[in-house]
Symmetry: C2
Subunit: 261 residues, 2 copies
């Protein structure tokens, strides 16, 4: 019953290879993070990219130094083994998907942990809102927008956005709730006509699955944590590691601790 | 130059009959209030109506007892003379408009001061947003919605809403800003398709003036302080006094003091 495990217990199972699945719905109440690991000579530009684009790339923690496998502010973490599935990129191309990166670890690798929409979705659900991708049991639909990110070195590209439909009154409530959580993408960046931000067809997401939009509902768009992956593909660093989609780094931080008020 | 007067100085001019005009744009930075004065045997139901409908009827202050002409929490106020124009209602019908109610004052009258949109409009303008009714120099358009208020005694009716158009990103910002000011109507209650809240034609407001809606803008709707006047017309108390539209009670309270965060 991984649902009932604490974050530390869940990480222990993942670390020992006993759990290799998705982390959605597990360790409820606790922050899960997007993961990016880069060689030190690329880390400075990536850090600056996050600083310049805090809505899609909200940095929650980073390693103290190159080679450091711990993230003490997030828990007793060995970043080489505590994520259930990793993606290995070489020159911007996905090369492999592995359950453990101990054999790939290098002294120059720098770890970044970024906020994830699971945290604000939990707050929306707790308020009684219908989060469509959750109620329909699919991945949230994500789209490449025409909103440019600020570039940092070779890291560049447009913002990827996630979409959740709401009636206007619920959208207003969602804006209020998400405003409290700037480190997990914060308030939406757009609602209504998707063409205004360069999206042609909501039924054809670039990532994830389409969801139904009911009568009187409008699509509401949030900055999305897939944005740094697009920037990674553009920058083409010789080596990079991320989590696999849905297989997040589970932390000891409570979602409520991210609320700014 | 009434623009440069403090609230106390402006009230003094109004009290002595030297200023009889609108108060929009005067004593900037300070809270202006909607005014309702009712006989004591109607005041209990009206107070309950405000408590049940805080979005359109946000109560900022009320007299300590029937006949009391002061509102000490709002400044050194004589409510019989410190508003530039009053409306006199008998049995729900507008009967007269006067600059002073000293001759009409009775020992059983109870004063209510309710929040007004001037406060949040100032916060929106200070953030650089284009408040269309301000930039076009007209009264905000107001509409009778189909959103029912909670009844209290004979006080009942649908909510009146004001409308300001924004692009989606600015609307999201406006929602964030107005959320900080629950005592001046707070966050919008709707945006987008006006028919969803029973409004057929935005170019035909029930009160105020139409404003232009530009490309990529959506109408955003706030609960409006005209709502209690509609409830007053429904309840038909034998006697009631309100401010005249645009001639608000100017207080010593700063708008920033209304911010909950």
């Amino acid at each position: 019953m991984p649902q009932l495990l604490s974050p530390a217990q869940l990480r222990q199972r993942i670390r020992s290879g006993l759990y290799t699945g998705h982390t959605s719905g597990l360790a409820q109440g606790y922050v899960q993070c997007n993961l990016t690991i880069l060689p030190a000579d690329w880390a400075g530009d990536f850090l600056r990219f996050c600083q310049l684009n805090p809505r899609p790339c909200p940095l929650i923690a980073m390693a103290n130094s190159p080679g450091d496998i711990s993230l003490p502010s997030l828990g007793d973490i060995d970043i080489r083994s505590d994520v259930s599935s990793y993606r290995i990129f070489r020159h911007g191309q996905l090369e492999d998907e592995v359950a453990d990166i101990r054999s790939l670890w290098r002294d120059d690798l720098v770890t970044f942990a970024l906020g994830c929409s699971f945290s604000f979705e939990e707050a929306l659900l707790a308020d009684g809102l219908d989060v469509r991708n959750v109620s329909e049991g699919v991945n949230v639909p994500m789209y490449r927008s025409n909103i440019p990110c600020q570039s940092a070195g070779d890291f560049a590209g447009n913002m990827v956005v996630s979409m959740r439909p709401f009636k206007a009154a619920d959208a207003i409530r969602a804006i209020q709730i998400c405003t409290r959580f700037p480190s997990v993408h914060g308030a939406p960046i757009h609602f209504g006509d998707p063409r205004i931000i360069g999206i042609k067809d909501l039924e054809q997401p670039d990532y994830g699955d389409p969801v139904s939009i009911k009568q009187e509902e409008v699509p509401v768009f949030w900055a999305c944590g897939v944005t740094p992956q697009v920037a990674l593909e553009k920058a083409r660093p010789p080596f990079a590691i991320t989590h696999s989609p849905g297989c997040m780094l589970v932390t000891d931080l409570r979602n409520s601790q991210l609320a700014i008020m």
